[in-house]
């Protein structure tokens, strides 16, 4: 898993100017994505992965990726499936068709959340201003994904590189999350 993924699937929103751009840290709004919540039991996992185009990761807090596809482990029977914005219907229908005979729940949550890309030497420091998780690479290697709290807001953190993180939050929380990230990074500008 490498920085590549960020450029392959998670891309800065073209229209948007960076929320913050410093030598040691940058915060960029990510472009819209197809996001699906998939819930199913073990029996359906293989087919689901095949239909989606990236297998469902089974080990906790991990991800699996393929070209323009990423499957993120959210829970023992829950995955978030990421694909380009325009692939929504094909991906959705594809999985529904393949799993028609197996109990599952597939729900479009593309619009439920927004993401920002936090990267730079100070990325870990900045996340730790609001998140009580040890982000050392031994304990939180590249590719790790988790839901957690950023101060008072629920967020999803996905490490796509040693110094690059995707920070996702429900849309109505993003103003709080991005706002605090930018404010907290302020002291990096101090002389």
């Amino acid at each position: 898993m490498s920085e590549l993924l960020a450029s392959d699937l998670i891309t800065p929103d073209a229209g948007e100017t960076p929320l913050l751009s410093l030598p040691s840290i940058s915060i960029l709004k990510a472009a819209p994505l197809t996001r699906l919540s998939l819930r199913c039991r073990e029996a359906a996992q293989k087919d689901a992965g095949a239909a989606f185009g990236a297998e469902l990761p089974l080990s906790p807090l991990s991800n699996s990726t393929a070209a323009k596809r990423a499957a993120l482990w959210m829970g023992p029977d829950e995955w978030t499936l990421l694909a380009p914005e325009d692939d929504l219907r094909t991906v959705f229908d594809g999985i529904e068709e393949k799993l028609s005979a197996q109990p599952h729940a597939l729900v479009d949550i593309s619009d439920r959340s927004e993401a920002v890309i936090v990267s730079g030497d100070k990325a870990v420091w900045l996340l730790n201003t609001g998140i009580f998780i040890d982000f050392s690479l031994e304990l939180f290697p590249v590719g790790t994904v988790t839901r957690t709290l950023f101060h008072k807001a629920p967020v999803m953190i996905w490490r796509t590189g040693p110094d690059t993180f995707v920070v996702e939050a429900w849309v109505s929380f993003m103003e709080y999350v991005a706002g605090l990230l930018v404010q907290s990074a302020g002291e990096l500008e101090a002389a």
Binding site: P60, M74, G75, E78, F132, I133, T146, R147, T148
Partner: protein
Amino acid sequence: MLLIYCPYCQVERAETEFACRGEAHIARPADPSQTTDEEWVEFLYMRDNTKGIAAERWRHIHGCGRFFNAVRDTVSDNFLKFYKAGEPKPDLEALAKEAGK
């Protein structure tokens, strides 16, 4: 702020990611209509409120969202065991001995 192990995520996280849901292993009667008022109030409200080793329900509400159970010493607040929902209630005395209580 407690440090809690989620048996599904298999990591320790800060308490703020979790919601405590009280005493564990209180099953909702299969056919409530057959229960007496006394049995129903027992299910609804009566609690051991143990001082010592007790099993309780937690939900990783800001993580994987799963409910699981934990055994905690309510005097020291130290956890003795974490286990998935649906697994049987552990032998609390045995756990207590292990913990040297």
